[in-house]
Amino acid sequence: MTAFIPAIKSRSAVADRVFNLVTAGAAWLVLILLGATAASMAWGGRLAFETFGLGFVTSTDWDAVGGKFGALVPIYGTIVTSLIALIIAVPVSLGIALFVTDIAPRWIRGPIGIAVELLAAIPSIIYGMWGLFVFAPFMALHVDPWLNDTLGPVPVLGAIFTGPPIGIGMLTAGIVLGIMVIPFIAAVARDVFNAVPAPLKESAVALGSTRWEVLSRVTLPYARSAIVGAIFLGLGRALGETMAVTFVLGNAHDLSISLLMPSNSIAAAIANEFTEADAELYRSALIALAFLLFVVTFIVLSAAKLLLLRLNRAHGRTH
């Protein structure tokens, strides 16, 4: 009997160690996958980086037949469409978050929250299809001609907002992208608003503040960094989104200041061209683009996470 107990103990100690190893191994796997992805993109893109050097990101000359690859157009397109998306999504998302946390009657908050989350759940390819078959024709028919007519004669804006009324281009892609990231930013912003300690808001109300004053002078200053984090999270999504923009961007490799001209983005260029890339250098150029995209989104998403962590820590949660 006395010999039996240590036997059980040591057996369970072994089992404990095995369990620990297995779970720690799975945790390591997350890190390994992330590192391996970055390494494999850097390795796959090295040929393009070596061949073109800095010219890879500064040249607009993308010529698959001639073997020249300058990626400025897709890089520019990625940045511009993401910025358009943020310009639309940030005020709307903050408005939704404010509505759901402070303004809406209680019975309607749940359903609206669910609706916004469903908007986030719709697969991006559905956004892309809707963009191509419904929204792009709508832009071509109603918005593009109006922009041409009203903003065309204005000096600087004219160059940005005139172009062929085909509905395909950076403006359409940016708007579709904006609709897509609204629910991501709104959901995080809602949680951030809810995390502001109630006594702070109540004190302001007790001093006679209106709802807007509570938001602008208590909630927003308190949650500023976390709100920026939520916006960065949306930016990270917008930069890497593929299907929603591939449909409506036009896959063109000409640099144009006009938002109505067809353009390209990093993700769309990869999606459109990778299976056709027969030359080693061509494939390497696309993988090099993926590497740049991965590094940039990694930085943006890490910044988002750090900014959001700070609020949680102030709130007493550490994970």
């Binding site: 095995v18 799975a26 945790a27 697969p123 709802r211 989104e241 299976t275 996470k305």
Partner: protein, 279 residues
């Protein structure tokens, strides 16, 4: 004094109006996109959609091979990704709760969660397709598993943390070894939440297109094998929508409607389960 108060009230009313308008704006797109998908997809739903293969240009057919290929790849991705995700989540919440590794993994897992899925597709192309020499359903399933993994890690981590510490302490006090506390008590207590996390992950990977473009590719014909190119719903929708053929457009909308109903339905089911258990 009265004027200032009036002005403050006016600004407040404006903010109220703006927030309401923003919410209407957001919901407007949801309804527009859903309405389009239903209107164009409903007419295309028929028996042939579920009994016939994807057709060549200019003729009618169905999406049976694509539905099958998607189901098989999602199933494989869950078998691979879910246990790994739960194990990593267990490390974060239990065995490594205060370790440095857990903090790093928890941080980077969230980055992986939002990482561009097309890069994950390229990564799997580089390590699976290029080394094996051909596109395959396995490669597609691995790419989907990589997207599923961080979702399951996050949800199972949170699910385990919600189990009260008293339960762990009570078990330890009875002399139950740590691994049995996790396997037999904590998993049981957190089972519903872990399963809903996996379901949410399935809803996410069901619509993922970008990571399948260079891994599973597509296949016009029936193929039951994961080791060759495999038809799947998202890539078929993509190719058919981008094509100039009307018959293909119709099929793409039918596929889009089925996919949307599946994803939104799964989301609503998850929400209902979560609501019931929280009561």
């Amino acid at each position: 004094m009265g004027l200032v108060l009036l002005q403050r009230r006016a600004v407040d009313a404006l903010a109220f109006l703006f927030a309401s308008a923003a919410t209407l704006f957001g919901l407007f797109w949801l309804f527009w996109i859903l309405w389009t998908t239903f209107r164009r997809g409903l007419g295309a739903i028929n028996v042939a959609l579920f009994t016939q293969m994807t057709p060549p240009p200019g003729s009618t057919g169905g999406l049976l091979n694509a539905f099958y290929g998607s189901a098989v790849m999602i199933g494989f991705a869950v078998i691979v990704g879910a246990p790994l995700g739960v194990a990593a989540g267990t490390y974060l919440a239990e065995h490594g709760r205060y370790s440095r590794l857990a903090a790093a993994v928890s941080f980077l897992n969230d980055v992986l969660l939002s990482a561009p899925s097309i890069v994950i597709g390229l990564f799997v192309y580089e390590i699976v397709v290029r080394t094996s020499g051909h596109f395959s359903g396995y490669a597609g399933a691995i790419a989907l598993a990589m997207i599923l993994l961080p979702i399951v890690v996050r949800t199972s981590d949170e699910a385990l943390r919600l189990v009260p510490d008293q339960m762990r302490e009570a078990a330890f006090a009875l002399g139950v070894p740590r691994w049995r506390v996790t396997a037999q008590i904590l998993y049981k207590a957190a089972m519903t939440a872990i399963l809903t996390g996996v379901l949410l992950g399935v809803a996410r990977i069901a619509g993922e297109t970008a990571p399948l473009l260079f891994t599973a590719l597509n296949n016009q014909f029936w193929s039951g094998s994961l080791s060759g190119p495999l038809a799947n719903v998202p890539v078929v929708i993509f190719q058919y929508a981008m094509s100039p053929y009307d018959e293909w457009h119709t099929l793409a909308w039918a596929g889009a409607l089925v996919l949307t109903l599946f994803v939104l339905g799964l989301n609503l089911v998850v929400r209902m389960i979560a609501k019931r258990t929280s009561k």
